[in-house]
Amino acid sequence: MGWVAAIPLLPAGAFALMAPMSRKARNAARWLSVAAMAIALVMSLFVFAETWGAAKEAKHAKLAAASAEAVPGESSGELAEVYRGTFTFGRIGETELNFGILVDPVSAAMLVVITLVGTCVQVYSIGYMHKDERIGWYFAVLSLFSAAMLALVLADNFLMLYLAWEVMGLCSYLLIGFWHEQEAPRRASQKAFLTTRVGDVGFALGLAVMYKASGSFDFDVVLGEAAAWAPGVALACALLLLFGAMGKSAQVPLHVWLPDAMAGPTPASALIHAATMVAAGVYLVARALPIFEAAPAALSVTMFVGATTALVGGLLGAVQHDVKKVLAYSTISQLGYMFVALGAGGFVPGMFHLVTHAFFKSLLFLGAGVIIHACHTQDMREMGGLAKRMPWTTATFTAGSLALAGIFPLSGFWSKDEILTALWNGQHYVTFFVALLAAFVTAFYVARLWFRVFTGYAHHPKAKEGHAEMLAPMVLLAAITAVIGFSSPAFAGFLGHKGHWPAIGMAVGSSAVALSGLAVGWWVYGRPGAKLTTDSLKHRFGYLYDMLAQKLYFDHAYDAVFVRPFVNGSDALSRFDLRVVDGAVNGVAAAWNRLCDWSWAFDVRAIDGAVNGLGTSVRKAGAQLRKLQVGRVQVYQKYVLGAVVLLMLMIAMKGA
């Protein structure tokens, strides 16, 4: 199965081919990116099928062994490894740094999710972005992102995972700031990059702790040894990794970048900021779960962070007016749910919610894209009444909304139910009720979004339905959302755990909560004669509403504590630079200039003077000597005579 490596290499190759092209050629070559993604999808499906078979065999073998030894066979959580290949790219001392590929059920499932959503988004983007003059670059970066995400889930060690993680961060930055002619996307891209970078520092430190503890980055080695680490080491490592995951997955208090990231193109938001990249944090924690289990406190922290985020994200989403920002806060909230599940030790519910969320949230974002195209605004106060104009979008968006709210039989119901069950069985009752409350809030803002967009007064009576290449991926995703929930027990079995159908009591309870949330949302926003202004809310809840509308003051606090002191410090350093450093440099330059002036003067006067003086004096001497040559023979005779006389005198005096 060495060809697995081609799955991330295909989109990477598409990027490598497209990046150096001219803009015109690149725009024409966008099909390259789509084709690479589609081929990767087909290959991923093959990998998934093969892994599915292998997992089944492993399960049977295990059951046989268990019955032979007469041990009561509760699931051990072992993942069936299907393929492994390594490529050493560097060496530090005794340690080999590897690009390793590990195919097991988790990565196989992630491969399918990524390539499926990725293909849908790319096909959709052809319609959504067709007017953009830089569409080629958009597709190139999308390809690079897909390659990084695929490499991340195929990695067999934390170092490679980290490398892919950072490449994704770069792509996220590029896509959020895709329309960099405008101020908001530019600022948002920087904010996203810097905020996730804060988390990444934690991740890097976690890697250092891990390496110090076990001398390796390999999943096998690290996770195998984690239980034997000193509790402090495991705790530190787990918390640092969690911090990294919180940055990437936009968990409170590092969630501030995700709503702003909505300034990027909507399909990119669907792929990166809903389905895949933000889920990478969840994937990281899921992979590193043995480390967290070695330090139970870290699990509690994970659960606390997740529960806080689930509730805060939901509440903030309930007061936003921007369609995409509602969905962004919803994503934050749902990612919080996944963290809650992982914190409760619920590996399968967390992963399953990741999968279902990837499908229904990317569906919602793609639907939002069509709506934004139709209405030319993102503010849902200026929408309304779209149900009649856009039947396909309405149908698919409704499916996504109900899945998000957790209504049977759509996918969100199943995964949310599993999470709640895991919390109840783990006796985390406080978190359980926080999660229920978050589910209620989720249903409320879903109803708010739906009724404001699709019903009521039509601000855009001529809104048009999207093109076929935009609707087709949405229909596909809606179909998946509708049926994937029924795979819940099979999915658990695939991941090596014992699957089960939801308990009736839990299912009824969570459905009741979700329905009551929808009902409240309908009563406030959907019932005939509802007043669609925020004034009454402001009036009734006053300070509480302000607090939510100001996003719980996170941005203000960060601005005051981090950004402004930093900017001030930078200003001071800039002045220091201008005055002291530049002054010193300019002073040296001026001194050198002066020295050069002196040198020039010396050159002209002393050296040129000497040379010219020699020449002049020779010429003068020559002029004097010239006078001797008079041209008259008799004068020369006299010279000769004089010379002979002198010679003779000399001879006479010396006596020959």
């Binding site: 010239r626 040559q629 008079v630 041209g631 008259r632 023979v633 008799q634 005779q637 005579l641």
Partner: protein, 103 residues
Amino acid sequence: MSVGLNSFLALGAVLFALGLYGAVSKRSAVMVLMSLELMANAVNVNLVAMSRFLTPDVLTGQLFAIFIMVVSAAEIGLGLGLVLAIYRETKSIELTTMDKLKG
């Protein structure tokens, strides 16, 4: 008083001095050529006298004197030719005017 070598040498010296004086001081080119002839003959006198008194057995000096006469005859011919050519050009044979080759 017998006529000895010294008398001849003295005669040669006097002739040479006369010739030298003429060559240096005369303004006419013809006169200078004549003075040069005088100096050549002073040398001839010396050569013949030296040969007669110092080596009477060989005639080297006498032969040399004849040789010099032949050469100076040619020389005078050439010199007078030059003087005639210059006279045709400038209507003058004054040496002081012949300074075309000065630097």
